[in-house]
């Protein structure tokens, strides 16, 4: 519960709460970006450098921009929509119940040693080594998955008018 952890945790919670609560879609995504950045800083705090920078590069640099583009493309002038659905109370209750259950389980669980164990090392060399030796099969499968997702997303999202022009 050190000061950096508290500040970053507060930033993450504030960003994500704003992301789920604001009216304007683009504001939501920008607040979400703040939340992602705070999470990346938490990963750096925990000593996972590679994952922290990958989080910034993928989430802030790609997923947030994708979401923003999608919001802009699905918005025509004159579209006024209420932000929350009719049954929002049920959703809030379920989420609160889930949080209560998880918090109880965490507080009951056996705590690790009060003093944190020494920081394990995850240099890029070790990650690369692991990816090429032990985790080579998941790496190839994820490559295939990303290719399929790329081609599939382009095919699903292409405008039928564009497709006729290119054929």
């Amino acid at each position: 519960m050190t000061a950096p952890f508290l500040i970053l945790a507060a930033l993450a919670v504030a960003g994500t709460a704003a992301a789920m609560g604001l009216r304007n879609g683009v504001h939501c995504v920008l607040a979400l970006t703040v939340g992602f950045a705070a999470l990346a800083a938490l990963y750096l705090q925990l000593g996972a450098q590679f994952v922290g920078f990958t989080q910034i590069m993928v989430y802030v640099g790609a997923v947030a921009i994708l979401a923003v583009f999608a919001i802009m493309m699905t918005h025509h002038p004159g579209l006024i929509e209420a932000p929350f659905s009719r049954n929002w109370l049920w959703g809030a209750v379920i989420a609160a119940a889930v949080f209560a259950t998880l918090a109880r389980a965490i507080s009951l669980g056996t705590a690790s040693a009060p003093s944190a164990p020494p920081e394990p090392s995850a240099t890029v060399n070790q990650i690369g080594d692991a990816l090429m030796h032990r985790y080579i099969l998941p790496l190839e499968i994820v490559g295939l998955l990303l290719t399929a997702a790329l081609i599939g997303a382009v095919i699903i999202a292409i405008d039928p008018k564009d497709r006729e022009e290119s054929e």
């Binding site: 952890f5 996972a48 699905t74 609160a96 944190a116 692991a130 998941p138 990303l146 790329l150």
Partner: protein, 107 residues
Amino acid sequence: MSSLQSYLLLSALLFSIGLAGALTRRNAILVLIGIELMLNAANLNFIAFWRFGPHPANRPDALTGIMFAIFSIAVAAAEAAVGLAIILAAYRHSRTTDLDRMNHLKG
């Protein structure tokens, strides 16, 4: 409360915020964002356990938490791309992204 418990509590809080957003928002894209948030919370869990878990020297699976987080980020990005493409296609068909209105299968 130890450091591990505080990180787990934070990740549980982020998960439930994402869940609340996914269950209550009307815009399909914001629901997708809630799902991304839940994935991020799970990632934080993995990294926290990697950091604070026991590490006998030179175990072959000492990097499991990091590996899982890396693959999870990659798969989540792919899923966000495909999900947003589907939302765009649905918008083109029904001219709305309001999930409360997209509730019959007949077009």
